[in-house]
């Protein structure tokens, strides 16, 4: 039943001998020993286990490790580069975007993926993007603020002059409303 499995996590290969029913989140936490990815529910609801699979945020509790073989997984431990915090990590710290810290790794992964795709997201767009991640402490407001601040910082790093607030509003409007 068990099989040997090698996964690439944060650019490093990790090998484990596991049953096919081993959930990716347990492989990450136990075979790879990367405990930043958390488990908060059993119904694919909370997003505490969010990791990037080939750059896209997914719930690692709803994926078997075998399914991820050969794909690139990124966890919160892979966000900082060469000792430098990711701008989103920095912004969560600056903006008090976390309290107990349990949802934080998942939120960071979802937020980082959003900023890869959308350099200037508006508030509504951010709120939708993180709606698969539950937080019980912050009320989300400072998380939204942190993602906005990180977006500014990242744009600032990419282009010397920061784009204005107007673009954020336009991006949000372009997406359109979906609820009745």
């Amino acid at each position: 039943m068990k099989r040997e499995l090698t996964l690439t996590i944060n650019g490093q290969p990790y090998t484990g001998v596991v049953e096919p029913r081993r959930l990716l989140v347990h492989f990450i936490r136990e075979e790879a020993g990367l405990t930043g990815t958390h488990v908060g529910c059993d119904t694919t609801s909370c997003g505490a286990c969010t990791v990037l699979l080939d750059g896209r945020p997914v719930k690692s509790c709803t994926l078997f490790a075998v399914q991820a073989e050969g794909h690139a997984v990124t966890t919160v431990e892979g966000l900082a580069r060469e000792g430098e915090l990711h701008p989103l990590q920095q912004a969560f710290w600056e903006q008090h975007g976390l309290q107990c810290g349990y949802c934080t790794p998942g939120m960071l992964m979802t937020g980082a993926a959003l900023l890869e795709r959308r350099p200037d997201p508006g508030e509504e767009e951010i709120r939708r993007a993180i709606s698969g991640n539950l937080c019980r402490c912050t009320g989300y407001q400072n998380i939204v603020r942190a993602i906005q601040e990180a977006a500014r910082a990242m744009r600032g790093a990419a282009e010397p002059v920061s784009a204005g607030q107007g673009a954020a509003g336009a991006a949000s409007a372009a997406r359109g409303g979906m609820v009745p």
Binding site: H38, P105, R136, Q141
Partner: protein, 782 residues
Amino acid sequence: MSAVQATDVIGQRIKRKEDPRFIQGLGRYVDDITLPRMVYMALVRSPYAHARLKAIRTEAALAMPGVLAVITGADLEKAGLAWMPTLAGDRQMVLATGKVLFQYQEVAAVVAETREAAFDGAEAVEVEYEPLPAVVDPFASLRPESPLLREDREEKTNHIWHWEAGEREATEAAIRSADVVVRQDVVFQRVHPAPLEPCGCVADYNRGTGRLTLYVTSQAPHAHRTLLSMVSGLPEHMIRVISPDVGGGFGNKVAIYPGYVCAVVASLRLGRPVKWVETRTENLTSTQFARDYHMTAEIAAGRDGRVKALRVRALADHGAFDAQANPTRYPAGLFSICTGSYDFPTAFAEVDAVYTNKAPGGVAYRCSFRVTEASYLIERTMDVLADELGIDPAELRRRNFVPPAKFPYRSALGWTYDSGDYAKALDLALETVGYEELRREQEERRRRGELMGIGLSSFTEIVGAGPNHLFDIAGIKMFDSCELRVHPTGKVLARFGTRHQGQGHETTFAQVVAQELGLSVDDVIVEEGDTDTAPYGLGTYGSRSTPTAGAAAALAARRVREKALKIAAHLLECGEEDVQWADGRFQVQGAPARSVTMKDVALAAYTNPPPGLEPGLEAVFYYDPPNLTFPFGTYVCVVDIDKGTGDVKVRRFVAVDDCGTVINPMIVEGQIHGGLTEGFGIAFMQEIKYDEDGNCLSGNFTEYLLPTAVETPRWETARTVTPSPHHPIGAKGVGESPNVGSPAAFVNAVVDALSPLGVRHIDMPVTREKVWSILRSHGIRG
């Protein structure tokens, strides 16, 4: 982190010292702990709410690969561990014997080499039940024909206790003679704190040392150690409880759960570390719920709106065991804060508690004991009175506030409010939201047939338990503590009996200590949660940390300063009476240029102490608060209702809080955002429901609904500052005010929107369907 000037540390928005580990995935929560030879435990739980246990067969489970042991209630009974005391003077089954009393009750524990094998083993345990009729409704439970639930008790009734406060006759008389009396039934539904991290532990009994180390999700590690010692018979010094990083608590992690006891038993039996981490389903169906208070309030008033008396009755549903964590003298907690912010000449409150076939509890969920129920009741009923009298709810509140001149104020139900300026908070809230303009808009919209509502809540909380002559849990007085060690280089290790779960103690307590010692926040490290190293304390819940441990921090630091002053005098070569502490340093009176810093003193304490003085620089302070603290505020909520779907949209929410001296405004704001969001969830979606057979219908996050970023409104916060006169730095607790004060603001806003239809009350959660059915019953088709 940049260095902060020593003299103005309190009141600064300082980035949290705890955050670097959390943002890098380097926090250490219970489930992150892995020990050599560790095994896993899973629990077998009852599918029935009420049933006799006929047989438990463990052979098949024991034959499964990897399964090491199966523990049943019968096994525990032999060791005298089948039952354990609750924190409320009742007892609770660890593993069921005889019968089960709620669905998902713990029936057996399976220990295996892997998590998978433990689950497989739990599935293989065969249990035979004989179902009994379940009692779900607390009122039905009190009827004589109701089945007796707790056969183990001497009292052969489902009634647990009766509690009352105030003046029964005077209140009755005032109600009889009043111009106006309003009466409202209000249910505060059963909810669950649902911290994002479920509960769990790793129990590690070492046969070589004879010591048990229990890593556990605990808001109160010392209380857990003492109680565990009492339950297990292990000597207390042979138990070390470590509560590592805690992923949210909100009251859910105060109690000792059967799973912890089973893991300890398993570790003792196997001599191996045993990990048990509950699933979310287990968390929601078996651990501490909150509320489930069925209340009636009556207010007597004059035509001018002046209140004359308040009478309150409540029925408290505690489920299968009275497992709340309340102070011994207060079975209904601080429910008698129900007179709120208003100057009631007289009042009477009584509560009866009852057993049902539901999960045991109920804990204070992000509030001090039963304060949310009380605050919601009075703030809801004041609106009913405003409606009855045709007086604007803001005006009615203003007319009845306890005036600033009356503080310290003795309430009709016996509390002494420390400080308050309620009108100031109300005024600021009304001004911030633009109240007059909103009322005009509302009138305009009503003419167009639109439904818009404005809801207020001017709450008063009671937190920081508490004075030791009144407050204890299981006999242990509710003090809290701080131990400070100033190292030779002027760096400080500060340890506390509290245990934060996101509240930011590592930063705010460091700010208090730094302020008192003239140091930088960077010079202070805060440690909590290890009973081997922290001074004894009662833990973190009920917004008590800042009122108790925060005070202990200031007073321990002042104790350090007393000794430091002697050393400073020695260094300054003058008499102690000539040295003063000013601007964060020791100065010679009249010659401020001659001074030494705490760093200078710290070094001297170890290298050059004055003759005759003990070397070293440390202090411990156990703080017995002279009174509780009474935070307050006014919240205003504005809603718009969709007549088609019944959807309630929160357009604006303004929160004005007064928690006395603010240590770190950033953290206070964060606490308020979070509490408002929980209040929002409770008002509109959170509810633990049961069907008539006692099956829990809300056992996971697909049915126990927590708001996401999309539903959550944007919060607008402001504050007034009315320091607590008895707290060393004037601070009050704040983490829970927004959860206590906000449910009434939300519901009041919805009721206000619907008041032209004659609506006076809607019970929470205010679902779309509840609103829709009101609209349709008034012929509004959408």
